[in-house]
C-alpha cells in the first residue's frame, strides 16, 4: 500500500531523514517509535505534503502512485489522512462543515454526488457517539477552545467519517489522560480493517498497550534502526532507546 524507499528529507537545510525505508501493507498496524528529534513527525508530515520539507532523494508511493507528485488534497482523496499532533484551530469554520466539505470532496473524487443530509446526519451521529463527543461539537469552530483531548478525539472523528485507506496518527497520545487515551484508542482500533493500513508515530509505548501494532520500528537519526513485532515496544519501554542508538552506531 505505502512504500517509502531510501527517503532523504531536509528541513531548513538540515537533513532530518537520511535514507528511511518502510513498507506498510493493507491490514497492518505499524508503530514508529524513537527518541525526540529522530525525525518521527517528519515522515508523516512529508507524506501529507506539508510545506518546508525538501525531499532530496528517495521515493514515496501509495498504491503505485508517486505521492510526491500529488497535491496535498489529492493525497487525502487518494486515501491518506494525517491526524495531527497539534491540530490547528480554525476559527469560524464549524466542525460539521469541515466534515461535510471533506466527505463530499471525497465522494466527488469517486464520482459520487453529495451525501443526502439525513444520511450524513445519521453517519455523523453514530461517529460522534463512538468518540463520546457531544453533538454541540459539530456547531463549534474546528478545534477552537477545545482541550487537548478534545482536539485529538476530533482528529479521530474525522478519520472515522472519512475512512481513509491509510491512517497516519502523529503522537496522537500526547497530552491525553487515560480516559481520553482509551476513547482515542478505541476509535483507532475500530479503524483496523483488512483493507486499511495504520501508521502510528509515538514516543511512548503506553499507547501501544491499547492499540496493539503488528510492526514496530525504531527511528534513530533519520533511519529505521530496528524493526520487530509488538514485543519490541515493550523492550523499548523497559530499556529505553539508548541501546538501539548504540546498536545502530556500531
Amino acid at each position: 500500500m505505502l512504500e517509502v524507499k531510501d527517503l532523504h528529507v531536509t528541513v531548513e537545510g538540515k537533513e532530518i531523514l537520511k535514507g528511511l525505508s518502510l513498507t506498510v501493507n493493507a491490514g497492518e498496524v505499524h508503530a514508529i517509535m524513537g527518541p525526540n528529534g529522530a525525525g518521527k513527525s517528519t515522515l508523516s508530515a512529508v507524506i501529507a505534503g506539508k510545506d518546508g520539507y525538501e525531499v532530496t532523494s528517495g521515493t514515496i508511493t501509495f498504491e503505485g502512485q508517486d505521492v510526491l507528485e500529488m497535491e496535498i488534497e489529492e493525497r487525502a482523496l487518494a486515501g491518506m489522512l494525517l491526524g495531527f499532533q497539534y491540530p490547528v484551530e480554525i476559527p469560524g469554520v464549524k466542525n460539521i462543515y469541515l466534515l461535510k466539505a471533506a466527505l463530499n470532496a471525497q465522494r466527488a473524487a469517486n464520482g459520487q454526488g453529495d451525501m443526502p443530509a439525513p444520511e450524513f446526519m445519521k453517519l455523523i451521529k453514530a461517529k460522534i457517539a463512538e468518540m463520546k463527543m457531544d453533538a454541540s461539537f459539530l456547531q463549534r469552530a474546528v478545534n477552537e477552545g477545545f482541550s487537548g483531548g478534545e482536539k485529538k478525539r476530533n482528529e479521530i472523528l474525522q478519520m472515522l467519517v472519512l475512512q481513509p485507506k491509510l491512517a497516519m496518527l502523529d503522537e496522537i497520545d500526547s497530552g491525553l489522560d487515560i480516559d481520553a487515551m482509551r476513547i482515542v484508542a478505541d476509535g483507532v482500533n475500530s479503524l483496523r480493517a483488512a483493507d486499511r493500513g495504520i501508521l502510528l508515530v509515538t514516543h511512548y509505548q503506553r499507547l501501544l498497550d491499547y492499540i496493539i501494532p503488528d510492526h514496530v520500528h525504531v527511528l534513530v537519526d533519520g533511519r529505521i534502526a530496528k524493526s520487530g513485532g509488538k514485543e519490541l515496544a515493550h523492550e523499548l519501554e523497559s530499556r529505553g532507546y539508548d541501546w538501539v542508538v548504540e546498536e545502530s552506531a556500531a
Binding site: 501529507a48 505534503g49 506539508k50 510545506d51 497535491e71 496535498i72 488534497e73 493525497r75 487525502a76 482523496l77 489522512l81 494525517l82 495531527f84 491540530p87 490547528v88 484551530e89 480554525i90 476559527p91 469560524g92 469554520v93 464549524k94 460539521i96 462543515y97 469541515l98 461535510k100 466539505a101 471533506a102 463530499n104 470532496a105 471525497q106 473524487a109 453529495d114 443530509a117 439525513p118 450524513f120 446526519m121 445519521k122 455523523i124 451521529k125 460522534i128 457531544d134 453533538a135 454541540s136 459539530l138 456547531q139 469552530a141 474546528v142 474525522q158 472519512l162
Partner: protein, 452 residues
C-alpha cells in the same frame, strides 16, 4: 476650467432647463440649492491635506465630466438579473432617475408611505422641506453641498407611529453603461415614527461597463422606540464612483442597525453618523468590505453619544485582495454628562495579497467619566496552517481559502437575517461553496438527532 467650475456649469444648465420645463421651484428648494452651490464653490473638492480625506483621493470624481440624465430606461431583463431575489416593497432608480416600470411597492401597511422624492415634493413640498437637510446640511462636506445643489430625486419613507413593515423596503439604485458617464445626487429621507419598525435595503448595482458617479445623502430619523434595520448593499460596477453621507438621529429607546456591506464600486466613501439623542438608544454598525483589483473603499463612522445610557456597538471587517485599498475610521464621541454609556468598536482586516493596503483608525473622545468604551483593530493574513489542515482533509485549496475567508467575515455575516443579502455577499467573498446554505439546517438536525 477648474474641476469645481465644471460642476457649477452643469448646475447652471440644469437649473435653467428645469425652470424652462417646470417653471420655478418652491423658494426653499431654490434657496438650498444656492446655499449648496455657494458652499461647494467655497470649499471645492477635498484634497488629501484635509484630515477626513487623508487616505482617499477624490480626483477621479473631481476631474470627471458627468452629464445629468432624465432617462430611467433600463432593460427589464438585465434589471431582473441584477435585482435582489427578495419579496419587498421596491423603488428603483436608474442613474438617479425614478423608474416606475421597475418599481413595485405592492401593498403597504396603513400609515406607511414609500415614494420617490419627486412625488413627495409634488404632493406636499412643505412636508419634505421640514426634515430634508435637517441632519445633513451643506456644511457637512463638499459632497453634501454638491448633493444639495443638484438634488432632484430619491426616496421618502414615512412610518406612522406604531406601524410595522414586515417585508423589507428595497431602494434599488441601478447604474447604467452610458456613452458619457453621468452623475446622480439621490436623497433618502426616512422618518420612522415612535415604535415603528422596518427594514430598508439600499442596493447599489449596475451594468458591468458602467462608470457613473453617485453622490447620495441619506437622513434617517428614528423617533422614540423606533426600530430600523438598514442594509446598504453596495455592488456597483467596478468603475462606478460612490460617495454616501448617511446621518441618523435616534430618539429615546430607538434602535438603529446598519449593515454596510461593500463589495462593489471603484471608489467608495461612506460617512455613517448617528446622533444618540435619547436615553436607551442603541446603534449597531456592522460592516463588511471586500475589495479587489484596484478598488478603494473608505468607511468613516461616528457615533455621537449625546445622552446618558446610550449604546453603540460597531464591528467592521475588511477583506482586501490584489491592490485594493481600504480605509476605516471609526469614532465614538461621548458628550459631557453622557454617563453610563457603552461604546464598543472593532475593526479587523484580512489582507489576501501583499499589495493590498488598509489604513485603520479607531478613535474615542470621552468627556464623561462613568462610561464603558473599548476599541481595537487588527490586520492579518489567512492562516496558512489552517489552509493546509483543510487540504489534508481533501478539500481543494480554493474552497479551503474561500471557507477561511468566509469564516473571517462570519461574525458580521451571522447577523445578516436576509438570506438573499447573505448569499450575495458570501458568493462574492468566498466563491461558490456547495451546500453552504443547508448548514444551519444540518446543525439543527444534529441536535434533534442527538436529543432523541
Amino acid at each position: 476650467m477648474s474641476d469645481v467650475q465644471t460642476f457649477l456649469d452643469r448646475l447652471a444648465e440644469r437649473t435653467e432647463a428645469r425652470r424652462q420645463a417646470h417653471g420655478p421651484e418652491p423658494t426653499w428648494i431654490a434657496a438650498r440649492r444656492q446655499a449648496g452651490a455657494a458652499r461647494f464653490d467655497a470649499m471645492g473638492f477635498p484634497d488629501r491635506r484635509v484630515e477626513a480625506w487623508k487616505y482617499t483621493d477624490v480626483r477621479p470624481i473631481a476631474r470627471g465630466d458627468f452629464a445629468l440624465t432624465d432617462s430611467g430606461d433600463f432593460s427589464q431583463a438585465s434589471a431582473a438579473a441584477l435585482t435582489l431575489p427578495i419579496v419587498a416593497h421596491r423603488l428603483t432608480f436608474v442613474d438617479g432617475v425614478f423608474s416606475a416600470a421597475l418599481s413595485d411597492l405592492g401593498e403597504l401597511p396603513a400609515g406607511v408611505a414609500v415614494l420617490p422624492l419627486s412625488r413627495a415634493l409634488a404632493e406636499n413640498h412643505e412636508a419634505v422641506g421640514g426634515p430634508l437637510g435637517r441632519l445633513t446640511g451643506v456644511e457637512f462636506s463638499p459632497f453634501s453641498a454638491l448633493n444639495t445643489a443638484f438634488m432632484e430625486e430619491g426616496a421618502v419613507v414615512r412610518l406612522a407611529p406604531g406601524s410595522v413593515v414586515k417585508k423589507p423596503i428595497l431602494l434599488q439604485f441601478l447604474s447604467r453603461a452610458n456613452a458619457q458617464p453621468v452623475m446622480s445626487h439621490p436623497r433618502v429621507l426616512i422618518e420612522a415614527g415612535a415604535r415603528s419598525q422596518a427594514t430598508v435595503i439600499e442596493h447599489h448595482v449596475g451594468e458591468t461597463e458602467a462608470a457613473n458617479f453617485t453622490n447620495l445623502v441619506a437622513e434617517l430619523m428614528l423617533d422614540r422606540g423606533a426600530i430600523l434595520t438598514h442594509y446598504k448593499l453596495q455592488e456597483a460596477p467596478l468603475s462606478d464612483l460612490h460617495v454616501a453621507s448617511i446621518h441618523v438621529e435616534q430618539g429615546r429607546d430607538s434602535r438603529y442597525t446598519s449593515f454596510n456591506l461593500n463589495l462593489g464600486g471603484g471608489l467608495v466613501r461612506n460617512d455613517l453618523i448617528t446622533e444618540l439623542n435619547g436615553e436607551g438608544a442603541v446603534a449597531n454598525f456592522y460592516g463588511l468590505f471586500y475589495g479587489q483589483g484596484r478598488q478603494h473603499i473608505d468607511n468613516h463612522t461616528l457615533a455621537n453619544h449625546n445622552a446618558p445610557r446610550t449604546f453603540s456597538n460597531e464591528n467592521y471587517k475588511g477583506i482586501l485582495d490584489d491592490r485594493a485599498r481600504g480605509v476605516f475610521n471609526g469614532k465614538v464621541v461621548v458628550k459631557r454628562d453622557s454617563q453610563k454609556i457603552e461604546g464598543f468598536q472593532s475593526n479587523a482586516n484580512l489582507l489576501l495579497s501583499d499589495r493590498a493596503e488598509i489604513d485603520t483608525k479607531p478613535e474615542l473622545e470621552i468627556y464623561a467619566d462613568d462610561v464603558k468604551c473599548s476599541h481595537g483593530s487588527t490586520t492579518g493574513q489567512l492562516d496558512e496552517e489552517a489552509v493546509f489542515a483543510l487540504r489534508t482533509r481533501g478539500i481543494d485549496e480554493q474552497t479551503a481559502r474561500g471557507l477561511l475567508t468566509l469564516a473571517f467575515a462570519g461574525e458580521v455575516m451571522e447577523l445578516v437575517e436576509l438570506a438573499a443579502v447573505a448569499e450575495r455577499v458570501e458568493l462574492a467573498v468566498a466563491g461558490k461553496l456547495p451546500e453552504r446554505f443547508n448548514l444551519s439546517g444540518l446543525v439543527e438536525a444534529a441536535i434533534l438527532l442527538h436529543d432523541d
